[in-house]
């Protein structure tokens, strides 16, 4: 297929593929539903014993052994400044692969429970409303309304690489 034919293809020519459409794994956190791209997910595992690392922020729960690899685990509730909750049967760790300073790295996030996998099209994803700051652009891919419920789509690379997420509270409260 030659380049000239390729350039006539509407997808290739004008609008690049919308990076936001596709499959999302959604999970519950407090009263909200969040989604992250399925391709970022490496594994979903039940809660297991986490080794605490001293002198770290409260949201850093510690490290776990994932088949011989030492993987840090973050409590997303605490990271977002949401009220803490007892871990339950449904609580689980989603192991994600995110972009670190020096290449990809695995990181686990503790969430209240995994919900479902959603297939979202461009039409279903809206830009994050302007919250007065540029938080939306920084950590969120957008918002999706599915059956009347709002799902917050996280840019998990940015969420996990940013130390200070205080700004996000204003969206959630």
């Amino acid at each position: 297929m030659s380049a000239s034919v390729l350039s006539q293809n509407p997808v290739a020519a004008g609008a690049p593929l919308d990076v936001r459409s596709g499959k999302y794994l959604t999970f519950a956190l407090s009263n909200e539903e969040f989604g992250i791209r399925v391709l970022k997910v490496r594994e979903i595992m039940g809660l297991q014993e986490i080794t605490a690392v001293p002198q770290t922020p409260a949201h850093v729960k510690g490290v776990i052994n994932l088949r011989g690899r030492v993987v840090p685990v973050i409590d997303l509730r605490l990271k977002f400044g949401l009220p803490t909750a007892e871990y339950s049967q449904r609580t689980c760790i989603i192991v994600t692969q995110v972009q670190g300073e020096s290449g990809p790295l695995m990181m686990g996030i503790v969430v209240d429970g995994v919900s479902e996998v959603l297939n979202l099209s461009d039409q279903e994803i809206e830009d994050t409303p302007d919250f007065g700051e540029d938080i939306g652009n920084r950590y969120l891919l957008g918002m999706a309304k599915v059956k009347g419920k709002v799902k917050i789509l996280l840019d998990i690379d940015k969420v996990l690489s940013t130390q200070d997420l205080n700004g996000l509270n204003s969206i959630l409260h």
């Binding site: 297929m1 030659s2 380049a3 034919v5 390729l6 350039s7 293809n9 997808v11 290739a12 020519a13 004008g14 690049p16 593929l17 990076v19 459409s21 596709g22 499959k23 794994l25 399925v38 391709l39 997910v41 490496r42 594994e43 979903i44 014993e49 080794t51 605490a52 690392v53 001293p54 002198q55 770290t56 850093v60 510690g62 490290v63 776990i64 052994n65 088949r67 011989g68 690899r69 030492v70 840090p72 692969q97 670190g100 300073e101 020096s102 790295l105 990181m107 996998v117 297939n119």
Partner: protein
């Protein structure tokens, strides 16, 4: 036919199936459903012109069909990696900029890194062999080898459009070619020019390796070329100032090499190089490290199974036999994997030969370097890290240790000094010695300097070793003249820091008038340490055993509080600072009463101190793992390791704990 966008969605689907499948469902079952879908992707991607995407989908099919063991854990990860790759390829094909600019061959990063690697090896052998040529400029075999090395670099550089590299390599090759044909004799200036050209090429390699951090070598190229051409132009007059008489006898008979010369220079280098290239493969070090790590994990997993409490209840001799077999194989596997990381120290020693040559001229001293134990193997990280400290010590030996020929004659020694580098195994460690037969360390001068620097009050009562060890203190230098190589007092403390980092120790022996010997004791590997597992509250930590001096249970009068602040412990009549680990890490201990705790006396650079923990659990060999960038700011923790029960234990960094003990508060 699918559009790119639809392919993207299909990939998402596959990713979901992979993540959401039942954990115990065999992954091989996916293959049946996946292969047709992937085949569809290959076809559609091809039609859409997304060649990359088609290729990565194709390799996924290959992966699935080639796997004979369904359910393999590695497969799942490989598939995920493949899918990510495929998704990226599809997205890139969708964005307009990647239309059709095929990058030039010269820009291929893989070819470039191969070039850097291969040329680096050639340059290393050029250096060694050039030094051999200096002793015997007519050794045809060595001449040929150096010629071939430059020739190969020239060829590769031309292929990659590195014109500067090619030009210098070409000119040097011409010199060597003429020497090969007996049109020219390699005088010391010619050897210098060859070495200079190797240095120049090495600078280029450094630039090509990391263009971001190193600039391209600028300037000096013309001068270098002129110098090389100058060598070329010089007539091949016999006896041109070179002391070697046998040069005249054998001008240019190529094949029969002098057998006796191979024993003279750095031993066995060319033969070794030849042997190595024939039966070796080049493997990415990251893959190698992963293999070593996995082998380490396998040992742990095996011990988990072996110690399973349910196992003894199964009274099966067959099971026992098979378990024993598994244990044996696992240990063998780990040993083999570890051995793969080991490299001989010979090349490192040979690099020092070059340094000795250059420095001896600069200092006007006559020095001969002897090596022993070149074949001794060490972890490659250690060998790499050793280069700097070794260089410092060799410099010191030449600058301070060895005397000038006149001084040596006056002292009744041979005019030529001798520096010996040797390596040997001893008790699970590797000993590396750097010995010179120079004037030895001057106890009085070191003591005087130390008193002047207020490092000690008086040298009385100090043993020789204690006085000699003062040279490792920061800023210590007794050199009367500050030269540009050593004598600025930045040498030995840097050496000690390097060796500490490698978890090694350094010792000095010195006899006045007879010379000085530095002995480095290094572990075989950095990947595994012997750890002491301790408990504090609910947490377990691993204390590196190499810095543990003793362990004891404190009595009532062991711990003193000084000025209501710092706690000190009286251990063997020495007062040592006490660090309560639970305070430092803010965990709740089983007891705050020292009498119910265990005290570990640790020794680090700068002193000894006591670490208070709840109890000792045991000794375990652990594979050290980095905690990654998430925890790069955490101090006092050196890394993590998987403990016998599968949980992660944190390895303590005693050095940092000791240095920062004051910050922990009362």
């Amino acid at each position: 036919m699918l559009k790119l966008e639809e392919i993207g969605h299909l990939i998402d689907d596959l990713a979901v199936q992979l993540v959401m499948r039942q954990p115990d469902a065999p992954i091989g079952a996916l293959a049946g459903a996946w292969v047709p879908q992937l085949a569809g992707i290959v076809e559609s991607a091809r039609a859409e012109g997304a060649i990359q995407a088609a290729e990565s989908a194709g390799s996924l099919i290959a992966l699935l069909t080639a796997t004979e063991a369904p359910g393999a854990e590695g497969l799942s990860e490989q598939l995920q990696a493949g899918l990510t790759e495929l998704e990226r390829a599809v997205r890139e094909a969708g964005s307009p900029k990647t239309a059709a600019n095929s990058p030039s061959l010269a820009q291929d990063p893989e070819l470039m890194s191969d070039f850097v690697l291969e040329s680096g090896e050639h340059l290393a052998s050029i250096e060694t062999q050039a030094l051999m040529l200096e002793r015997d400029p007519c050794d045809a075999e060595t001449l040929n080898a150096v010629f071939r090395a430059f020739h190969t670099i020239k060829g590769l550089a031309g292929f990659l459009e590195l014109w500067h590299v090619q030009k210098v390599a070409h000119e040097t090759e011409t010199v060597l070619d003429r020497a090969r044909n007996a049109e020219l004799t390699l005088t010391p200036p010619a050897i210098d020019a060859i070495l200079a050209s190797a240095d120049y090429l090495r600078r280029w390699l450094r630039y090509l390796e990391a263009p971001g951090t190193n600039g391209p070598p600028v300037g000096g190229e013309e001068a270098l070329l002129a110098r090389i051409r100058g060598v070329c132009a010089a007539p091949a007059e016999p006896g041109g100032g070179h002391p070697e008489p046998d040069r005249d006898e054998q001008p240019a008979e190529l094949p029969p090499a002098h057998p006796e010369t191979s024993g003279a220079g750095p031993k066995g280098a060319p033969a070794e190089a030849r042997r190595g290239s024939a039966n070796a493969v080049r493997v990415d070090t990251a893959k190698l490290d992963l293999l070593v790590e996995m082998a380490g994990e396998m040992v742990i997993a095996e011990s988990l199974v072996r110690q399973d409490p349910d196992l003894p209840t199964l009274k099966s001799t067959r099971l026992q036999r098979n378990m024993a077999q598994l244990t044996r194989i696992t240990q063998e596997l780990q040993k083999t994997a570890m051995a793969m990381r080991l490299v001989p120290v010979g090349p490192l020693f040979r690099r020092m030969a070059r340094l000795v040559r250059d420095l001896s001229r600069q200092f006007g001293k006559r020095v001969e370097m002897v090596t022993a134990g070149d074949e001794m193997e060490l972890d490659r990280t250690i060998v790499e890290e050793l280069a700097d400290p070794l260089m410092h010590m060799v410099r010191n030996a030449l600058d301070h240790g060895l005397e000038t020929p006149r001084e040596r004659r006056a002292a009744g020694k041979t005019e030529t000094g001798r520096v010996t580098l040797s390596a040997q195994h001893r008790g699970g460690q590797v000993l590396i010695e750097i010995a010179d037969d120079g004037r030895g360390l001057d106890r009085e001068r070191i003591a005087a300097k130390a008193i002047e620097r207020k490092l000690i009050a008086t040298a009385e009562g100090l043993t020789d070793t204690e006085v000699f060890n003062l040279v490792f203190e920061p800023g210590f230098s007794t050199a009367a003249v500050v030269t540009n190589v050593s004598g600025r007092g930045v040498g030995m403390d840097v050496v000690r820091r390097h060796i500490d980092k490698l978890r090694g120790r350094i010792e000095i022996r010195s006899v006045p008038g007879q010379g000085t010997t530095f002995t480095l004791k290094l572990p075989l590997t950095l990947a595994i340490i012997d750890g002491l597992v301790v408990r504090v509250g609910a947490e377990r930590y691993i204390v590196p055993l190499f810095s543990v001096r003793e362990m004891l249970r404190p009595k009532e009068d062991t711990i003193w509080t000084v000025k209501q602040r710092a706690e000190m412990a009286l251990v063997r009549e020495a007062l040592l600072p006490v660090l309560r680990l639970y305070k430092r890490f803010q965990v709740t201990p089983a007891s705050t009463d020292p009498r119910a705790s265990v005290m570990i006396v640790g020794e680090v650079e700068g002193g000894r101190f006591c670490l208070l923990v709840d109890e000792l659990i045991g000794k375990q060999e652990v594979v050290i793992k980095s905690l990654g960038e998430t925890f790069k700011d955490v101090s006092g923790i050196a890394g993590g390791a998987i403990l016998g029960d599968g949980r992660v234990g944190l390895i303590l960094d005693l050095e940092r704990l000791f240095k920062e003990r004051a910050d922990a508060g009362p």
